[in-house]
Subunit: 134 residues, 2 copies
């Protein structure tokens, strides 16, 4: 598995997320995965993703940009989706928003071991300010 190029592993991970193939997630995520310094572990990471899809029924991950220098993969992810209620503390309440996330992943033995994510919250704030209330 470590011989598969990391961008290919990463695209397979994102494809699995979009299919909500939770039984495949262990192939892509390490047991002791950390995200933004939080030691979530696999169960916590899986629970976070499952909740994301519950809160955002039309969630879909699109890879807009990708750079790789092993063991790092960096992606710019693009989203067009409708969070049902609050998202990042903002009252989106079902309105359609577009935003991006720039995120680094550190792979270890073919699995994601550490994640450093930044979501463009100001872009969402600016969109909501220009919309009428839901």
């Amino acid at each position: 598995m470590p011989s598969t190029p990391l961008p290919d592993l990463y695209r397979a991970y994102i494809d699995g997320l979009n299919r909500q193939a939770w039984d495949e997630l262990h192939r892509h995520v390490a047991p002791d995965v950390e995200r933004n310094g939080d030691k979530l572990g696999f169960a916590g990471y899986r629970a976070m993703l499952v909740k994301d899809f519950q809160d955002i029924p039309d969630l879909w991950f699109t890879i807009a940009l990708l750079a790789c220098t092993p063991p790092l993969v960096s992606a710019r992810l693009a989203f067009d989706c409708s969070p049902k209620a609050k998202f990042l503390g903002l009252a989106v309440d079902g309105r359609k928003i577009s935003f991006t996330e720039n995120v680094f992943y550190e792979y270890r033995a073919g699995k994601i071991a550490r994640v450093w994510s930044v979501v463009d919250k100001p872009a969402i704030e600016a969109q909501l300010a220009q919309m009428t209330a839901p």
Copy 2:
């Protein structure tokens, strides 16, 4: 110049920013540079950076993570600094904050032509909420 590896070009760009070597900036930034979809051009990009250092006198760019797949460079930048007044609309008022920026650069002929930056504003909001007023 295009034969120099992009990570080396990028590190030289960041080194120049930290020295505030504005007369060298044209070596690193294209005349028609765009940032987050804004067609700033070189003059606008330079003015943005100069203003950043005016607003944040102790500004210093540290490359925490770097990934490269030409023509893309992606970096996670780490900052420990003290914006004099407002920063991203937040009243920092001279207090020391730590935050990160995940940012992609597209190079063209050895110069930065497009930039997609996301700054971790929620991290700053969380720090300010835990501080006493200045």
